[in-house]
């Protein structure tokens, strides 16, 4: 079946990062900081790795009970905002437009360019293969954190889900590794945003206007000849 693409009518004022997306991005940033900072404090009470304790000054919540209160507040912000983001990304077509497709050859070429410091970033509206991979990956890690977090919170009520992680400690470990992946992502994400400040500005102001974004139209149920 042919995938019909039409040049959409110029949507004036539609920016690279529309307002709802920017709100969700910064809400998520706050939620992530709350979850990571309070999670580190909770982790300290029963460490998974003897060599790793997080210094108190980078944790959130003061004492264990405070950290738990912050974590169980942050989870609502993170989950509600995350669900809104997923719905928005799927319904608006943003995920398909910005994050797909990911081609292996392109990915390898981009990594090579990046290592030679030849990465092009003139066009903010188009993500390269590395960006696409990282953004899709971090969305999946976020989903994994919500699921493993649910199991750490309720290993008995969700005992069917717990078996996916072997047991309670398995879910704790996955939840920790998910955090580590998010922290690594954040280091790269923030470093690159600071290196190319216009990306940071774009996430505040909305970025460049999209004059005529190619818009994939879902195949019509009964294709009529005049669609071409």
């Amino acid at each position: 079946m042919t995938r019909a693409t039409v040049k959409s009518h110029t949507r004036h004022g539609l920016r690279l990062h529309p307002l709802p997306l920017r709100i969700m991005h910064w809400t998520n940033a706050v939620a992530m900081i709350i979850m990571i900072g309070s999670g580190w404090k909770i982790y300290n009470d029963e460490v998974l790795f003897g060599w790793l304790h997080f210094p108190d000054w980078i944790t959130i919540g003061g004492e264990a009970q405070g950290a738990l209160q912050w974590h169980f507040l942050g989870m609502w912000i993170l989950a509600i905002n995350g669900i809104a983001y997923l719905i928005y990304g799927l319904v608006s077509g943003r995920f398909r437009r910005m994050l797909l497709p990911i081609r292996l050859r392109e990915l390898i070429a981009t990594v090579r360019d990046a290592l030679r410091l030849h990465l092009a970033h003139d066009d903010l509206t188009r993500y390269n293969a590395v960006q696409r991979t990282l953004y899709v990956g971090i969305i999946l890690v976020g989903i994994l954190q919500v699921i493993s977090g649910l199991v750490v919170w309720k290993p008995m009520q969700f005992s069917e889900l717990t078996t996916l992680f072997y047991d309670f400690q398995g879910a704790r470990l996955v939840h920790f590794l998910g955090m580590a992946a998010i922290v690594l992502f954040l280091l790269v994400h923030v470093a690159l945003a600071l290196l190319v400040p216009k990306t940071l500005v774009a996430m505040v102001t909305g970025g460049p206007e999209l004059d005529a974004p190619p818009r994939a139209v879902p195949p019509a149920p009964a294709p009529s000849p005049d669609i071409a």
């Binding site: 909770i42 009470d45 264990a64 209160q69 169980f72 919170w153 008995m156």
Partner: protein, 263 residues
């Protein structure tokens, strides 16, 4: 698995409990009245404080955190599956002895004398006659090999037996429509659970561990073992049980830990 008992833990403070701290924070503790918080701050509008308030305004932030914790109690009660049986394990997986947890060190445990020990009953219970240790042992026994999960993150598999709490509450004519079952303990620890958890098939008043009477550090002669709550929700050395509709709180709950704490 067992950590050295000298290690630092919130659940085992190094020194004896300093009561002056309690007196110092009397007003704060008075504010931690769940009911008034529910009434005053449960609305989602309270969340807006988070964006509107100065983060240095500790009391405003704290009231949001406490309100969300109360909200999470309601969510957990909703998520609770009254007849869902949690996984049980084989005898070979049982850790002996169990792992110690209390608000003080294991050396400070004061053994309870079974001869003079009595279980008092209070509140919405028809037959409030106290129970002796031999009377308790004469009750039908249920065995549970279940996972104990501490709020700190550690866990172990334990083998507990004793009378089913629902059976016991029915026997003494407790009002099973009441909201809370509250416990007082020989070491002045207090705790409370929701009625749904009290009536869960895997909630027992344990008298034995690994088929032997529970040893002193683990709650002799009577402790609660519920399969669906964090460790600190299982009071040891129980001396009284009260059935009530008035929110009873508890030792750790009054210090900011989530009340429902279901797992």
């Amino acid at each position: 698995m067992t950590r050295p008992i000298s290690s630092k833990s919130l659940f085992r403070p190094a020194a004896a409990i300093d009561q002056s701290i309690l007196a110092e924070h009397k007003t704060l503790l008075a504010q931690i009245d769940r009911r008034s918080l529910l009434r005053g701050t449960i609305s989602l509008g309270a969340l807006s404080l988070l964006t509107g308030c100065n983060v240095t305004d500790r009391s405003a932030v704290q009231s949001v955190l406490t309100a969300v914790s109360s909200w999470n109690d309601l969510v957990q009660a909703f998520l609770f599956r009254p007849n869902h049986l949690v996984p049980t394990y084989s005898e070979a997986q049982v850790v002996k002895p169990p792992r110690f947890n209390a608000y003080y060190e294991i050396e400070q445990v004061k053994p309870v004398d079974a001869g003079s020990w009595k279980l008092e009953l209070a509140g919405l219970i028809q037959d409030k006659r106290a129970w002796t240790a031999p009377q308790m042992s004469a009750l039908p026994e249920q065995e549970l090999i279940i996972r104990h999960i501490c709020v700190e993150g550690w866990d172990y598999i334990g083998q507990w037996s004793g009378v089913n709490l629902r059976l016991f509450l029915e026997r003494v004519g407790a009002d099973l429509t009441a909201k809370y079952v509250a416990f007082k303990c020989a070491d002045d620890y207090t705790g409370s659970i929701d009625m749904a958890t009290a009536l869960h098939p895997q909630t027992i008043l344990a008298t034995k561990y690994a088929r032997e009477p529970i040893t002193d550090p683990f709650g002799f002669p009577l402790r609660l073992r519920t399969a669906t709550k964090l460790g600190f929700k299982n009071p040891k050395w129980i001396t009284s049980i009260e059935v009530t509709n008035r929110y009873p709180g508890g030792y750790w709950e009054d210090r900011g830990f989530n009340w429902f704490s279901g797992i």
